[in-house]
Symmetry: C2
Subunit: 355 residues, 2 copies
DNA sequence: TTTAGCACTCGGAGATGTCGAGTGCTAATA
DNA sequence: TATTAGCACTCGACATCTCCGAGTGCTAAA
């Protein structure tokens, strides 16, 4: 985009004023900041409008940035906003207070961003498949009750209590342990076929479906270790913005955001830690065509990745939001102990269990 | 409330018409249903207004039920709406599809109600304290890694992976098992004092903080077994109702509903399985003073109780919503296997206890 | 006791008028 | 040549006004 330096300064001033006030920006409003007369600015504005970077709601209203204008602003003109010491302090404090369990790490982070930015925020966990089981343990509680404990590749531990009316004895438990630890470890859930289960059943002499129950749990545990879950925070904030004062419009977008399956289809940044900005019509979803999305991705340890997306009007404070998301990405990585795997943090409870 | 039968019929007609149309009800609108002339109804309406059961937005608009009017309607006039076969079928279907994990049982039920009623629904788990540990098990993974498995009073199982740089051997694990199973079972978390931990440390000859870690996990597990969590579904639906077309109003109530701590303070029905209705100013919370809440409570097995609350304008279809909530209460009880404890249901995917 | 009729009230929708912010264009100026 | 001041013009926002009709309360007749 080869436009004069002065045009860029004017475009930036318009974007920033409009982001702040939500009112179309007139030539007078910014002439003092730029040291030019309003007439000059009017001429420049007319040219920017011709280039498609600005729009006029109607003759003789001020100018408003077009989607293209925002795009230029984001790509070239946006000041790198770094958070103030005050802000990082507050963010850090809030982060430390909230994040106690890994289960809800992303959801909590989302709520945090929503609180700070006053935009709705969605959080997605995007687990990768390929998880495997490292080890099975069995605890015989009584003749009818068995606890199965599974340790996954990434040190996650899952358990399940099973009841068997037929009764179980120590010998069977030992057999189960041998069979599962040799036959089911190192497999992905797709590899745990029906044949495999049948083979194990005969090996254990099990006709009560015990093997099948355990295998079912194993598969479920693997699938659940990499879930795709969606959370939404700060939905109410959307109504704060004049763009969504029309209840119909607000409702449409809220309904969209409340629909997990739709959120799952939203694009992710190309690289973890990056921030991706989608402006207005750049969004594929019809419902978002006059809104913008700023989305960042986080490594959550292991193969699990998380997405955090801020949704708002195209008149969004892109610089501010990018800054928050980037900062959070950094902090979360520190929180997670560098390259650490999941369970190391996962401790509400005290204790020296951190490596 | 001793009013004539005819007045009751008129009041009921007004409430039901207003619930449906959201427009003030004129005398003509209901005269055909009641077989009376509009003039007669006008006279009766005037008296009902004097009694404080109806209100007039302004002279020569129709009448609108007052909060008191709704109260009379709910207490005395409401038809016992029973769901149609079609409706129960759909509800049941949806229930069976969604509810796969106990973790989110309530949240799922809430989403279900939200979908069916088109009102926002909050779900609260209201765990009771007093949970105890029945049994400890320890699995030694390798010299530095120990899995602790705790079985709670209500058959919930929790586990945690602990790392100890100093190293552990079989003998120590056996000692731990003895000490914890004799010393820590049957206690509430408040009874697990520092002294007790110290005593056990000396008993085990542990100077590495292993006992302290395990005890810490035990306390956390107990606290977490009875969490107070809040979920909100269907927030967007509130904008469908004309009462909340004013974005400010909608935002105020949405913000209220998004605030977990505030939801926690909402009242619960006196008995499990009952439905409680709070109309307009009967709500203590300022933000809800012109809204109504219909709330039901459910036994979720063990000592854990759940609340499901539907929030909407005072012009709410109380009969319909009560019916849905009651039906769901019955169904959930069946789902949970009568008086059964939690895990018996969980025979699909894994239990509510992973970390 | 119920009903029909009638004058009255008041909110809502539409039409009209005014105001002012902002524009484009032109001519003067550095 | 680039910038600026001035001016006529446009058009939305807002206030005012009018009119319409739904719904009321009251009265008199059935």
């Amino acid at each position: 985009m080869d436009i004069s330096d002065r045009k860029k300064r004017i475009l930036r001033a318009i974007v920033e004023s409009y982001v702040e006030t939500a009112e179309p920006v007139g030539s007078k409003a910014i002439c003092s900041d730029l040291g030019l007369s309003s007439a000059t600015i009017r001429n420049e504005m007319a040219e920017l409008t011709a280039l498609g970077l600005l729009e006029q709601p109607h003759t003789s209203a001020g100018r408003v940035p077009s989607s293209k204008g925002y795009r230029v602003y984001v790509n070239e003109l946006m000041h790198d906003r770094t958070l103030s010491a005050q802000e990082t302090f507050e963010l850090n404090n809030a982060l430390r207070q909230r994040i106690t369990k890994l289960d809800s790490l992303l959801a909590d982070a989302g709520r945090l961003v929503a609180d700070f930015t006053h935009y709705p925020v969605y959080a997605l966990t995007a687990g990768s498949s390929g998880m495997k089981i490292r080890r099975f343990d069995f605890i015989l509680v009584d003749r009818n009750t068995l606890i199965v404990v599974i340790m996954l590749d990434n040190d996650q531990v899952k358990n399940k209590l099973l009841h068997f009316p037929a009764g179980i004895d120590e010998a069977l438990v030992r057999k189960l342990s041998t069979v599962f630890n040799s036959g089911f470890t190192g497999l992905e859930s797709s590899e745990m076929t029906h044949e495999l289960v049948s083979a194990c059943e005969t090996a254990c002499g099990d006709s009560e479906g015990i093997v099948a129950s355990v295998a079912g749990f194993a598969i479920a545990a693997l699938d659940e270790a990499a879930p795709r879950q969606a959370y939404l925070s700060g939905a109410a904030s959307i109504l704060e913005h004049p763009e969504y004062r029309d209840p119909d419009k607000a409702q449409r977008i809220l309904a969209y955001l409340s629909d997990d399956t739709k959120l799952m289809t939203l694009p992710a940044p190309d690289e973890s830690g990056e921030v991706k900005i989608l402006i207005g019509p750049e969004n594929v979803a019809e419902e978002l065509s006059d809104s913008s999305v700023v989305v960042a991705s986080y490594d959550l340890g292991g193969d699990v990745k998380g997405l955090l997306g801020v949704v708002g009007p195209t008149r969004m404070d892109y610089a501010n939001i990018s800054a928050h998301l980037s900062y959070l990405a950094r902090e979360l990585r520190i929180f997670l102990g560098g390259a650490g795997t999941l369970p190391q943090l996962g401790s509400g409870p005290p204790g020296p269990d951190e490596k």
